[in-house]
Subunit: 338 residues, 2 copies
DNA sequence: GTGAAAGCGCTAACAT
DNA sequence: ATGTTAGCGCTTTCAC
């Protein structure tokens, strides 16, 4: 079925109206006589006309497409966020160009430049690190950008997230209450703002508030990797640590399984709290006690906010930082009694 | 920093050449005198010119964007496929519009129509079901479409996948070898082609080849859902089943954990083989024995093949069905000895 | 309420 | 090797 494309002109011609009128009915403009509208609609249906979004984008300077940057598409935490974004995007008729940061071939800057070249109407950045190059790209672009599910260095960018400092403190306090003297911290990377400026300082503060000593040697880095975290378990044990807060569920599963394989009893010998509350937390045995984040909602709210910024051109300078609630969900890697 | 956009015309003017020449250097056309090229390049850099991909798309009728349809973005199996797709797409400078099928708001047909409206150059469909409406959309479109990580009803669409029938037989045979009389099957949905026409018939054939009886009551449906599969465990037990092949790792984890919670010993009392081999398989205790699929590669090959179809306009009628190898990886939900 | 016409920023013949 | 000139399919004033 070879088809020479049916354009707005074809429809206009067939319906004996002008392109402008067709455009009006397609875009729901009210200034069209009902009879005319019906006639046009009929022709559109008969010819199976579909507006070309590219042409529309060029003419209107809006693409109804948003760029979504994700650290890793297979990461359960960000996948949940993306699900929220995708759902809300669908509601508002936006499509999303999704790109992962961990591709071999592309630098983050290229990823963004490509999105910008495609004239996306906005960008949701899920990522832990914002290089100066990237920041410059964002600044130079006229479109809204927001950070979702993380925090980046400066607060120039609006964000939707939980309070990572408080979540860390809640966890450490909970563990300290159980009498642990050496409480460890396992994060993905220790230089990213979410950790360097939030979780690690909060960990230290909480420790000290509890009268415990902060020792940098008790902070471990697992690169958000299951295997690596699994390997780390022995070291953590060697350090004399008996309780651990882990920023990510997958890493937590790694040390939990390693501990079990090493003959340790969790939570009797060792307690663990994981920081995300993804589906993974319920897969392990024992199930992971977690700080549970409203991941889907974080994504949904992000996209909702972005649509607002895109349509109302809001936000240039008004600081938009939505901080959602987290909660500590006790499962089986912490002791029930105090 | 308000900016009136710098276009190809701005550059041409500033460099004292024509738009055509600028276009040539931007597109790497060799027919440009080196000095001219350098001059243009200098201006491009100085003005920070970035080609507008939308305008380019309209003029060239190529968007270097592909549509990727995924059943659920949080599904580990498809996420792995998507990772492969994304990586290869980056290599070939394609962006991907990713849409999940499980959004509340959108019908599959709308998802596709939106992609088509955006003039994607090709579509990778990861999904188990192809309605007639969808098929019609694909047929009417001039772009290549391929199915990845699944099979759909008719074979009109090229696909990249493993041999699901053989994988099922391998699993059933393995289990039968261990002397089980009642081997069950747990799939996501029993009406999708991948199950209705592949796994279920293969299950039956393998059973009968082993002299065992096929009983439809031993085929369970878990909707690719962990909780639902967890609940199903008791029923499966009640059926007198002692070994199970599960199409998806997450569902397998569900029955495995339920069985453990019910006091059953896996693999001593019950054996399980899961069908995907995602990261989840190694998270559970005991770890899941799986049919392992080269998920990343399936995605990568899909995208590679699609680029070929997009550039060479290949594939209209030549049947392209890439079938990759799977293997049975023994972990801990099956017995080591025979 | 409807039409005419001028772009949107670029590519792609076709000239030269 | 470079410039000219049409479009690509649509939106959007501005008239009528």
């Amino acid at each position: 079925m070879k088809k020479q494309p049916v354009t707005i002109y074809t429809v206009a011609h067939e319906a004996n109206v002008s392109m402008a009128t067709v455009s009006r009915v397609v875009n729901g403009n009210t200034n069209v006589k009902p009879e005319t509208r019906d006639k046009v609609l009929e022709v559109i249906k008969r010819l199976n006309y579909r507006p070309n979004a590219v042409a529309r984008g060029l003419a209107s300077k809006k693409t109804t497409t948003v760029g979504v940057v994700i650290p890793q598409i297979t990461d359960g935490y960000f996948a949940e966020l993306a699900a929220g974004i995708d759902d809300v995007a669908a509601i508002y008729k936006y499509d999303m160009i999704l790109t992962s940061l961990d591709t071999v071939e592309q630098q983050p800057v290229q990823v963004i430049q490509s999105m910008l070249a495609k004239q996306v109407d906005g960008i949701i950045f899920m990522g832990h690190d914002l290089s100066d190059d990237l920041k410059k790209e964002f600044d130079n672009s006229a479109i809204p950008v927001l950070v979702s599910g993380s925090v980046v260095d400066d607060d120039s960018l609006p964000s939707v997230r939980i309070d990572y400092r408080q979540a860390t403190k809640d966890s450490v306090n909970f563990l300290a209450q159980h009498g642990h003297q050496k409480i460890g911290l396992l994060v993905g990377y220790d230089q990213t703002p979410i950790n360097a400026q939030n979780r690690i300082p909060a960990y230290q503060e909480a420790l000290e508030a509890q009268g415990l000593v902060f020792d940098p040697a008790n902070v471990f880095v697992g690169h958000d990797n299951y295997q690596e975290s699994y390997q780390l378990a022995q070291q953590i044990l060697d350090q004399g640590i008996t309780a651990l807060f882990v920023s990510d569920d997958l890493m937590a599963a790694g040390v939990l399984n390693a501990l079990t394989d090493l003959g340790k009893k969790v939570p009797d010998d060792f307690e663990i709290i994981a920081g995300n509350g993804t589906a993974t937390a319920q897969l392990t045995r024992p199930m992971l006690t977690t700080i549970s984040q409203p991941m889907y909602d974080l994504g949904a709210v992000s996209m909702r906010l972005l649509t607002k910024m895109m349509t109302e051109g809001a936000g240039e300078d008004e600081e938009l930082n939505v901080v959602m609630n987290h909660e500590l969900v006790e499962r089986q890697t912490t002791r029930a009694d105090q």
